[in-house]
Symmetry: C2
Subunit: 151 residues, 2 copies
């Protein structure tokens, strides 16, 4: 397969990132069931963590530090669930995996932000995939700006 | 908290690893619902990915390459779900997180190994946490040896 056939590669240039580095783009998920939920996407089209260069990994480790610190400061997240899964890419044949991380901040206490209340009733337990909360464009922008202000 | 109070630190020395490096221990999960499912545990008692040193990260990236390659060769895994969650540690107060990764190999086809049939009916979808399959000590040992033979 080539880059033109990859959905992630197609979407990435139009992305409005929270944070961008040489190798990665951090963008807010439209689903804010976990306040500050983000994707951390590799710019290069690679389908497996085993294929990352040393530079790509070290760049990622700096993002982990920066984004966790910012979301802690912004909303008081207590821990962070990181996952690199890429299952969806294998629904089609040939598969088109493109490395991206799911970051779900987790909260012991509820948070009031942008006129809304965010809760994490399963704090201490595995994230709930059904805990979906599509945020409005305005709320997404507010969340993004709040995180960026703490970077 | 200190190291003595950490369950992971207590268990780690008695672990029978598949692979051990300067900073990490790879051990088979007793739950083989996903054939080759492992834990990759940091030796140092640190509770957050943001606290890892450059050396610990680079050591981890070598493990990703080695263990994925070995499990592909051993059983034909097609992709790998990686997650660093640590939710359980926050059930108690004060929380006692200790960095460890969950590695779930995923399979398009069923595998016959050690006289048993392993399947991944949700291939292409998020892993099922309920897909639990406690393997016998003999089967665990066979799986471990098969992976080790491909390292």
């Amino acid at each position: 397969m080539n880059v033109e056939q990859c959905e992630v590669c197609t979407i990435l240039p139009s992305n409005d990132p929270i944070l961008e580095t040489q190798n990665w783009v951090v963008s807010l998920s439209p689903d804010q069931g976990y306040l500050g939920r983000c994707y951390v996407t590799l710019k290069a089209h690679k389908g497996d963590l085993a294929d990352l260069t040393k530079e790509e990994w070290l760049d990622f480790t700096e993002i982990v530090k920066k984004i966790e610190k910012a979301i802690r400061k912004a909303f008081g997240a207590e821990l962070f669930n990181w996952g690199c899964l890429m299952n969806d890419a294998f629904k089609i044949d040939p598969p088109k995996p493109h490395v991206h991380w799911h970051l779900r901040p987790r909260y012991r206490h509820s948070i009031n932000f942008a006129g809304e209340k965010f809760e994490d009733p399963l704090f201490g337990y595995h994230y709930e995939r059904g805990q979906s909360r599509k945020a409005s464009a305005k709320v997404l922008e507010n969340i993004k700006q709040e995180i960026q202000s703490k970077l």
